[in-house]
Symmetry: C2
């Protein structure tokens, strides 16, 4: 099994892009990634996307993007795992390059949510949950997360304001990221007085949707040296794990067992431990998910993820820097694209390209992408060398 | 890169299964494949499906089926490439096992079409075509195939009845397949007098949809010997290629260039030529596609695929046996599952389990799965050894 490297990255700004179609958004980031990699062709295309059949009435995004980008005749396919579609597409590409079957793969994470060909976004997002046993009962996706957050607060004795540091950190970090959807600092007071969505989740606990694409070019590590003075970014760990799709079937609804399983396997593959990770791009779709992700991945004890925020450990100069480019909360959450935005951001940190939110001396970064309320979770560990 | 083998197969009957849900159908074939392989666990699950977000309001089928089948915590993901989703999921599984990352993978091809959570099946199927440049203009998927067939008849001088042998052969072969949807012999006269759908495609040119699941268990070839007296079935060739998603963008709308590219690569990988293939499970979604698939895969000259049917070469005792278990036409076409039904049927042939439609002495078989009107095409070559 060959080791793989990330040679190029590209991304679009996350926004309501009413003037651009799905293919234009995906194409824009593709050309950026290819240019960044200095490549004008690739052997295969892997697309991560969740909603296009419903929102854009378009399936078969593999061929669709090969066609649009001009990579005719190449192998192309779409991978879907709800909000973890981006990382799942990355992992499929990594396997194909590792197997030696192909020598380069472009991974496209793309989502166009501000369009609709029949479905509203809320019901389209609900397809990440269990249609028979959750959604049919009338619950929305934010509703499921609200139940988890409420139980967490009850079980471990935290109050709503204790989650504020996650959102405040994300918003502060996004100020320096031109691709972020939101550029606006927030305070604890604003966090507490924000509009309620589904108690206890309010507007500033929740990440905004958006249109966007982020892309990476994967090649065998042996074929890359430091390019143009940049360090070589290798993939040291890659793992995917699952849990029950419905929350009520889990042994413990407050523990992301798939995050724990996938993080453990990724650490083992990389020969690393949580304390070796310099930057952690986690999946803060809701502030409760940031806490649960930190706990399941070995950065905090059960019920204590919130404490890392309160102690200031999560800022770019803290002990466990998270969401250094704004996270899902402020960079935005174009669902199927998010997993690749996280990878792009880790690469930017390892290249030292993050300006005011650069983590000093970062050489090892981790990204964790969550599908549904924790049913599919992928963890990737990258290293500069 | 490790060589892979198919250790187990399972399938359900294709039908309108109103009494069974998506998860029950997928689970039924999963247990059959695991039992056939003599395995009660697998390292990873790959699901091929096209329509569940639209028809069943369910995404994230990887975790969904891991959960239902009881393969908790395992890696799972869904792969989509329209009607080629089944073979695309197989190929992703083959890459992961070949890379050495996992030692076993269950590939689920599943589709439940006789349910609806918002979309009618015709508009859901149209997502395989180009939403902006084809579907938006009002054409359906059968309409696109009708334009291709009409042009083919005009260009090469064939009349409608010349396509009859494809459907007659498929219906005759399905008589001996208990999983086939249709058990009814047809004649040229019936073929000619069947109800028109979109001129010149009539009801007996078109494959019926249905609910069904077909599944295969993939393991490294080195770990398998002949089991229980059955030959070892190895994967000798696997390839995927694309063409423009819209027909009008193709250099020649009457040539499946992605079938040609993927077949050539699969032959090269296997070290074989068309004349070495003992049985060919092709993608006869419409009779015209059977002709085009034979031509692009090297079994007939341009415009002469139809002649193979007229000469009787396509029957189980002919020179190029196709659709030996009924093909899409009579076995049925549960779209995302079809690619795996084809693989299951090739395995049955190579095991010598096909009764009246057994191809005598078959040791090498090929399956070709087509997404859209030819935008994504995968070719797999299997061998008994």
């Amino acid at each position: 099994m060959r080791k793989t490297a990330i040679l190029g990255i590209g991304q679009t700004k996350i926004d309501e892009q009413w003037d651009k179609s799905l293919r234009e958004i995906g194409g824009e980031a593709a050309f950026a990634a290819m240019q960044d990699a200095g490549m004008d062709r690739v052997d295969a295309l892997y697309v991560g996307n969740m909603l296009s059949p419903m929102i854009d009435a378009q399936n078969q995004l593999g061929a669709y993007f090969s066609d649009w980008i001009g990579l005719w005749r190449q192998e192309s396919v779409k991978v879907e795992a709800a909000c973890a579609s981006g990382a799942a597409a990355l992992r499929a590409a990594l396997m194909a390059v590792a197997a030696g079957n192909i020598d380069s793969a472009l991974v496209i994470g793309v989502e166009k949510m501000t369009d609709k060909a029949g479905h509203d976004v809320t019901s389209a997002l609900a397809t990440a949950a269990d249609a028979d046993y959750e959604v049919e009962q009338g619950i929305s996706f934010v509703g499921i997360n609200a139940l988890i957050m409420r139980r967490y607060m009850h079980e471990f004795g935290w109050k709503h304001a204790d989650f504020a540091p996650f959102s405040i950190n994300a918003h502060a970090n996004a100020m320096d990221n031109p691709c972020a959807r939101l550029h606006q600092r927030i305070t604890v007071d604003q966090f507490e007085r924000s509009s309620m969505i589904a108690t206890p989740i309010n507007l500033l606990d929740a990440s905004p949707i958006g249109d966007g694409a982020a892309e990476v070019m994967i090649v065998p590590a042996e074929k890359v040296a430091s390019v143009r003075g940049r360090p070589r970014i290798t993939v040291e760990g890659s793992s995917s794990a699952t849990d029950s799709i419905a929350v009520h079937s889990r042994k413990d609804p407050l523990f992301l067992s798939a995050a724990c399983d996938s993080a453990k396997r990724a650490y083992a593959m990389a020969g690393l431990a949580p304390e070796d990770i310099d930057v952690f791009e986690l999946h803060d779709a809701f502030s409760i998910m940031a806490a649960l992700s930190l706990e399941a991945s070995g950065f905090a004890e059960r019920g204590q993820g919130v404490r890392l925020g309160l102690e200031g450990a999560i800022s770019p100069n803290g002990r466990v820097p998270v969401c250094t480019r704004g996270g899902l909360k402020a960079r935005g959450h174009p669902v199927g694209a998010t997993g690749i935005y996280q990878i792009v951001e880790v690469v930017q940190q390892l290249r030292g390209e993050c300006g005011k939110t650069q983590v000093a001396g970062a050489t090892t970064g981790m990204a964790q992408n969550i599908g549904g309320s924790g049913a599919t979770i992928l963890t990737h560990i990258l290293k500069a060398n």
